[in-house]
C-alpha cells in the first residue's frame, strides 16, 4: 500500500517518515550535503521538535540529530511512516 507523498516540513513533531526523494530543482550542493548526512531514499526520519520560534525543525536521521529550515525541508519528499 502506497501512502501519499508529503513534504518533510509538514510532518508534525514526534512523528516519523520515510524519505522518497527530492523535489526537482533542489540545489545540487544542498542535496549532496543531505545525502551525505544520510537522507537517502528509504531512510527513516524522525521529527523530534521545532526551535522555539517554530523554525528550524529538528530531525533525527541514522541516529544523528540535525536542524534544518522548514523551507529547505520542503524540498524533501517523504511518506508518513
Amino acid at each position: 500500500m502506497q501512502n501519499e507523498s508529503v513534504r518533510l516540513c509538514d510532518i508534525p513533531s514526534g512523528s516519523s517518515a520515510s524519505v522518497i526523494g527530492f523535489t526537482n530543482g533542489t540545489n545540487n550542493g544542498f542535496q549532496s550535503r543531505l545525502l551525505e548526512l544520510g537522507l537517502t531514499r528509504g531512510s527513516c526520519v524522525n521529527v523530534t521538535g521545532f526551535a522555539p520560534l517554530g523554525d528550524p525543525m529538528i530531525i533525527s536521521v541514522r541516529g544523528c540529530q540535525l536542524a534544518i529550515r522548514k523551507e529547505d525541508a520542503a524540498d524533501i519528499k517523504v511518506v508518513a511512516a
Binding site: A51, L53, G63, C64, L66
Partner: protein
C-alpha cells in the same frame, strides 16, 4: 630516527581534536592551510614513540570527501597530494552509520587507514555492541577502540600506526551496472576514485555526461543519489553483521535534553540565563585580576620612569618607554583575563554541544537578515573582543555570510568600550539610570549590527542565505584539559594578533602625540592634538565639538579604552578631578551621544587588521572603517539633535 606522517580525519564532533591534543600534548603548532583567501586552521604537532617521530596533522572535520566545501577540499587535496604515511579515521562509535560514510571514501581513495572507534562508553550506555574484529575484517583495516578524552586504547592505536598498515583491499563494490560505468570512466580519468567523483559530480566531457544521463534513466534518479544510496546500503550491510543493539539500552539522552533546551517556552529563557551568567562570571571574576594587571603596569611604568630619570635619559625616551611601549602593551594585556575567561566559558558551552543549539534557536531571526544561525556565535564573542569574534566567522559556509558577519560583529560592544561607559555613566547618571544607560548601549550595538546587516543584504550582499542544515552533536560533559587547551589557544592567538599590530601602531600614535619635539604627550599642541582640533567642528552637531573629544576619538583608534586615558592627559588631571572637568564640557545628553559614537565608530586597529586578514581585502576593510564612522555619526546626530528637540539639552 624514523619519521611517520599521520593525518587525523573524520566527521566534525567525533573527538578528532581531542585525540590530536591527547597525542601531541601542548606541543603543537597552529598555522593556516595555504593557497586560500580564507584561512582555515591547520594544526600540526609531533610526538615520539620508541625511536619514531610521529608528525600529526589534524584535518578539518568533514561529512564526506567530495571536495564540495572548503573543509572537504582542503582534506582531499592534502590526502591526495601529500600522501600521509598513515591516516587515522576517528569515528564516533555511537553514530557509526553516519561516520562510516567518510571511512568508505577513505578506503576508496586507497589510503593506509586505521579506524579509531571513539566514545565507546557512550555507545555502551546506548546499548550498542560492536564486534571490532568482524568490523576490521569486513573493512579490511585495523580497528582500535579508544577513548580520546583519556588514554584508553592509546597504546594500541600507536602500535597500529607504527605497524604502517597497507591500504585496504576491501573497497566498496557498487552494483554491476555502476561498476561497469566506473570501469569505463576509469579509462579516461586514470583512477577509480576520480572516476567515481566525476560520475557523481559531473564533468565537461560529453561522453561522461552521456553515461551520467544513462545512470539517471536506469535508476530513476541522479547519480549523486544513486551513489549515496549504495554507499549507505553497503554501510547498513556491514553494520548488520558487526553491530548489535541491546534492547536494554537507554533511549537517546540528547533528544530528551533538547526537548527542554530548544522548547518553545524554555528555549529563550535558558539561553538568556546562560548568557547573563557567562557575562556575570567574566566580569566579576575578571575585574579584580584586571585591576591587578593595571596596577602592575602602573608600577612598572613608574619604575621605568625612575630608572630612566636616574640614568639621565632624555625625556622623550622616558615618554616612549612609559607612555608608548608600557602603556600600549598594558592596554592590550589588561584585557587578557576577561578574554581568557570568556573563551573558557564559551569553550565549555561549545564542547558541551550547547552552542550548536544557540545557532538553532537564533536561526529564525538571523535568517531574516540573510544570515545563518551560526553567525550569532561571532556576534556573542564580540561582547568580549572583536578580534577573536571576527576570526570566529570562519565557521560560516559561504563567503557572503562570512563577510556580512565580519562587518557587523564590531558593532557589538566589546570589553574595551566598557571603561569609557563606566567613566561617563559614573559622572553623568545616578542610581538606577546607570544600569539602564549601560544596557541601552549594549542593546543599541545589537540593533545597529542587525540593521546594518539588513541594509548590506539589500545592497552590497544580495542573495539568499545558504541552506541551513546543522548537526546537533550529542550533549557531552566537557573535559577540563580540552576546555583549557581550547581557551588557551584562542587567547594566545588574540595576544599574537594584537601584538603584531599593536607595536607599530603604538609607536605611530606615540610619535603623533609627541611631535613636534618638546610638546607635552598628547597635549593640544601635539600633532594628534592639532588633528583633534581640526576635526572637532565635525562633531559639533553631535554635541561634542571640542578639541579634547576629537583627540580622544583619534586616540581611541589604538584601543577604545585609551579614550579614558586620553581625557586624563589632555586635561592634565587625575581620575578624581576628571569628573569635575568633564562636567564642564559635557551634558548628560552630549555624554550619551559621545558614548554612542565610541560604541559605533570604527573599531580599534587590531580589529581592523583582523578584518583585513580574514577578508583579504583592503577595499572592504577601508569601506568598513568609513562606513562605521558614518553610521556612528548619523546615530549620534539623531540622538543628540532628537534629545535637544525633546528638551534634554
Amino acid at each position: 630516527m624514523k619519521k611517520i606522517t599521520v593525518a587525523l580525519a573524520g566527521n566534525p564532533n567525533c573527538g578528532k581534536t581531542t585525540l590530536f591534543n591527547n597525542l601531541t600534548g601542548m606541543r603543537h603548532h597552529v598555522g593556516n592551510w595555504p593557497g586560500k583567501t580564507v584561512t582555515v586552521e591547520r594544526k600540526e604537532g609531533r610526538t615520539v614513540y620508541d625511536d619514531t617521530t610521529l608528525e600529526i596533522v589534524d584535518l578539518p572535520g568533514t561529512y564526506s570527501l567530495s571536495g564540495r566545501s572548503l573543509e572537504e577540499e582542503i582534506a582531499v587535496t592534502y590526502l591526495q597530494n601529500e600522501k600521509p604515511d598513515v591516516v587515522v579515521n576517528i569515528v564516533d562509535a555511537g553514530h557509526l552509520e553516519r561516520n562510516l560514510y567518510v571511512t568508505i571514501q577513505l578506503i576508496e581513495l586507497g589510503l593506509p587507514l586505521v579506524l579509531a572507534l571513539n566514545m565507546n562508553r557512550y555507545a555502551d550506555s546506548e546499548g550498542i555492541v560492536i564486534n571490532t574484529k568482524l568490523l576490521s575484517e569486513m573493512l579490511g583495516i585495523p580497528v582500535v577502540k579508544i577513548e580520546a578524552i583519556d588514554d584508553t586504547g592509546k597504546d594500541k592505536l600507536i602500535k597500529e600506526i607504527l605497524a604502517r598498515p597497507a591500504p585496504s583491499k576491501k573497497s566498496i563494490r557498487y552494483n554491476r551496472e555502476l561498476e561497469e560505468h566506473i570501469a569505463e570512466t576509469e579509462k579516461k580519468t586514470g583512477s577509480r576514485w576520480t572516476a567515481v567523483q566525476t560520475l557523481i559530480h559531473g564533468s565537461d566531457d560529453s561522453q561522461i555526461e552521456t553515461v551520467r544521463k544513462h545512470i539517471t534513466d536506469v535508476f530513476g534518479t541522479n547519480p549523486q543519489e544513486v551513489f549515496a544510496d549504495q554507499r549507505y546500503g553497503y554501510i547498513a550491510g556491514v553494520l548488520h553483521e558487526a553491530v548489535s543493539r541491546m534492547e536494554a539500552g537507554k533511549k537517546n539522552q540528547s533528544e530528551r535534553i533538547d526537548r527542554i533546551i530548544t522548547s518553545k517556552w524554555f528555549g529563550f529563557p535558558i539561553f538568556l540565563g546562560i548568557m547573563y551568567l557567562t557575562f556575570q562570571i567574566v566580569f566579576t571574576l575578571g575585574a579584580p585580576i584586571m585591576d591587578l594587571i593595571d596596577q602592575g603596569f602602573g608600577i612598572l611604568s613608574e619604575l621605568a620612569a625612575a630608572g630612566l630619570a636616574a640614568s639621565l635619559a632624555p625625556e622623550w625616551v622616558t615618554s616612549l618607554v612609559c607612555n608608548g611601549i608600557i602603556g600600549g602593551f598594558g592596554s592590550v594585556i589588561v584585557f587578557l583575563p576577561n578574554i581568557f575567561l570568556l573563551f573558557l566559558l564559551l569553550a565549555i558551552l561549545e564542547d558541551s554541544g550547547y552552542l550548536a543549539r544557540v545557532a538553532v534557536i537564533m536561526d529564525r531571526i538571523m535568517h531574516k537578515l540573510g544570515l545563518h544561525g551560526k553567525s550569532f556565535i561571532p556576534m556573542i564573542l564580540g561582547f568580549g573582543c572583536s578580534v577573536p569574534a571576527i576570526m570566529a566567522a570562519r565557521t560560516l559556509e559561504t563567503k557572503r555570510e562570512r563577510y556580512l558577519t565580519i562587518l557587523i560583529t564590531p558593532f557589538m560592544s566589546c570589553g574595551a568600550r566598557l571603561p569609557v561607559y563606566l567613566l561617563l555613566v559614573g559622572i553623568f547618571f545616578a542610581g538606577w539610570s546607570q544600569g539602564l544607560v549601560m544596557f541601552s548601549l549594549y542593546l543599541l550595538g545589537i540593533l545597529v549590527a542587525l540593521t546594518t546587516g539588513l541594509l548590506l543584504r539589500k545592497t552590497l550582499f544580495k542573495g539568499e542565505s545558504s541552506a541551513f542544515v546543522l548537526e546537533m552533536p550529542p550533549y557531552r560533559l566537557p573535559t577540563i584539559k580540552g576546555v583549557l587547551i581550547h581557551a588557551g589557544e584562542r587567547s594566545w592567538e588574540f595576544l599574537r594578533k594584537a601584538g603584531v599590530i599593536i607595536f607599530p601602531a603604538v609607536l605611530l600614535m606615540w610619535l603623533l602625540a609627541s611631535l613636534p619635539f618638546g610638546v607635552e604627550y598628547a597635549s593640544s599642541e601635539s600633532l594628534i592634538g592639532m588633528a583633534g582640533s581640526a576635526i572637532a567642528p565635525v562633531f559639533a552637531p553631535l554635541g561634542f565639538g571640542f578639541a579634547e573629544a576629537g583627540v580622544a576619538i583619534l586616540m581611541g583608534l589604538l584601543a577604545k579604552e585609551v579614550v579614558v586615558g586620553a581625557f586624563g592627559t589632555l586635561y592634565g588631571v587625575g581620575d578624581e578631578a576628571l569628573g569635575d572637568v568633564l562636567m564642564n564640557v559635557f551634558t548628560p545628553l552630549s555624554a550619551y551621544s559621545f558614548m554612542v559614537f565610541i560604541l559605533l565608530y570604527m573599531p580599534c586597529l587590531a580589529a581592523m587588521f583582523t578584518i583585513k586578514q580574514e577578508t583579504g581585502s583592503w577595499k572592504l576593510t577601508g569601506l568598513a572603517a568609513v562606513g562605521m564612522c558614518v553610521i556612528a555619526g548619523i546615530v549620534s546626530f539623531i540622538i543628540y539633535q532628537g534629545g535637544v528637540l525633546l528638551g534634554f539639552a
